[in-house]
Symmetry: C2
Subunit: 328 residues, 2 copies
């Protein structure tokens, strides 16, 4: 029997319907084959705007990880977020002010984060942190988010291992929903909701995928996506961009371990991850807790998801945790 589960942060209901995995499918998936045109992210054939930052230079290589502006940005330079109503008063547009950068995670043609060295992973996280600090200091930007798309079914168009960082001029709806839920929880429970969830997940140990001294990786109770995993610091930390190098090194090791499990799971050919962190325009550090959400893209979001906002997930998070723990 399917079950509704309520996300404890946002209050959003999800349908966990494991029996649906047995549905017949007349459209078997065929793996995508990447074309062999010159890669715009490889150092030797690079075709991007000039770098804004680079990391890991040494004798044999000018960089290990670098950051470039997105050649096809969704956000662009500007001083302020100006909203303009049209003559009818019905419609509003706004300047697309913000930043949209790409983190190239290796100078050679690596197509998966699993292949990166531990150093490249740490430098990638340092790039996320440093560029978020730059965005924090840019007046028009109030919220920044590192994002990764892997595989065509997750919206990736290039195979070379890379991420994006978007800096937005407003707090986007999904972050807003988590912030509002976290504020409600703090009021009623006098504690950060993420701290509470992490303590309970560690205690129950039914949905944990991996734990380290500093971090927990677990399948959230009301996962929207099959085999979804979240990673968060075990101690209360509200802003990712204040992380020090040592913490990033530890996070890099865990993130790579989890992504290796994700990438080697037989049903996962594509996934996204993104970082949620306290917006720059908030002076509160008590209720929101930065975390990474990793969402494998197995089933397609269909009419139910887009029409209602209610997700259907056909793998229970408890089963997901068992499968991912077993995966090396």
């Amino acid at each position: 029997v399917p079950e509704f589960r309520k996300d404890p942060v946002t209050g959003r209901w999800v349908i966990i319907a494991a029996h649906r995995d047995a549905r017949p499918n007349q459209f078997p998936q065929r793996p995508a084959v990447a074309s062999t045109t010159a890669c715009p992210f490889c150092a030797e054939t690079m075709l991007t705007p000039p770098m804004v930052a680079s990391y890991g230079a040494h004798e044999s290589r000018p960089w290990q990880v670098c950051v470039v502006p997105n050649l096809y940005p969704i956000l662009s330079d500007g001083d302020a977020f100006v909203v303009a109503p049209d003559a009818t008063g019905l419609y509003e547009t706004a300047t697309s002010v913000g930043m949209h950068e790409v983190v190239i995670e290796a100078p050679t043609h690596m197509t998966s984060m699993s292949q990166l060295t531990a150093e490249q992973t740490r430098l990638m996280l340092a790039a996320y942190r440093d560029r978020m600090q730059v965005m924090r200091d840019t007046p028009a930007i109030v919220c920044a988010m590192p994002i990764k798309n892997v595989g065509p079914d997750a919206g990736a168009s290039l195979a070379h291992s890379h991420s994006q960082i978007v800096g937005l001029p407003f707090v986007p709806p999904y972050v807003e929903a988590e912030l509002a839920g976290a504020a409600r929880f703090l009021k009623s429970h006098r504690e950060c909701v993420f701290c509470s969830l992490i303590r309970e997940e560690l205690r129950a140990d039914r949905r944990t995928v991996a734990r380290t001294e500093d971090f927990l990786a677990w399948c959230p109770f009301a996962s929207r996506f099959s085999l979804e995993v979240w990673i968060a610091p075990r101690d209360h930390q509200s802003r990712f961009e204040t992380s020090d190098d040592l913490l990033l090194e530890k996070l890099g090791r865990l993130l790579q371990r989890i992504l290796r499990k994700i990438e080697s799971h037989p049903r996962i050919t594509a996934y996204n991850y993104y970082f949620h962190s306290t917006p720059f325009d908030s002076d509160r550090d008590d209720h929101y807790h930065w975390h990474i959400e990793i969402i494998p893209r197995i089933a397609k979001a269909a009419g139910v998801e887009w029409g209602t906002g209610v997700h259907i997930n056909s793998v229970t998070p408890e089963q997901a945790a068992i499968e991912l723990r077993a995966q090396t």
Copy 2:
């Protein structure tokens, strides 16, 4: 330059970024090929639970359109929506009470709505209406929605032309967001926001795809999806399930005309549509206006969409309207 546009109903921002269509893509799409196993929806090989309704019986055929319970339901029988917190007080589950039905739109193997007869289309809409009335009279259900998934990229798993109707025990988030926006608009403008939009779209005629005496089909100003089309009655009508046969016949003709344009557009291989209508637990008929949202599934929702809730659309709605008007 990309542009933010605010959805006038919900207040949700969308990024219209037409230049992104020029991005290189290393993962060319390959068309899915349906397998040839026996179709569970063809009358001759039918494999479904017993019918709950059928339409269009005549001498040569027992039905033209029929309704069956979903063999893999996301919602099931029950008297009430009961929310149960767990022992920790952190997590809540609820009974999956509701209805989940399938409308089979032809007894023979039609794989697209374009192939249906005008009568089948009218009967399909009558089935939507009648089953919504049944759901309205079911105490645990407060909101019902006809939904269609076409093509594997839109989440369809079977090729035979069909739709689903879900009856939910709560008002889902996306309907709630539209209701809240419509209530705000009514308060400030003393008019239904949809009536206002329809009048303005008819006047400006920049985003209209088709108009009839009774309906308007247009590309909404802040479309989240490329080539998105909405259809709504031109007069204020809050509840789809109160439509009479004549109106459904007229709607069927327009819906089929629009879907023919969608299905013959060279970039569209998959789409969803769903009906939004006033929830059953609302006694207000003044501010919400039933409508159909048709969302072609060209680009994959990626990390930006799932991480922020902000959609990126690379075709302006004005350009979409030009293309769809030209399409026969």
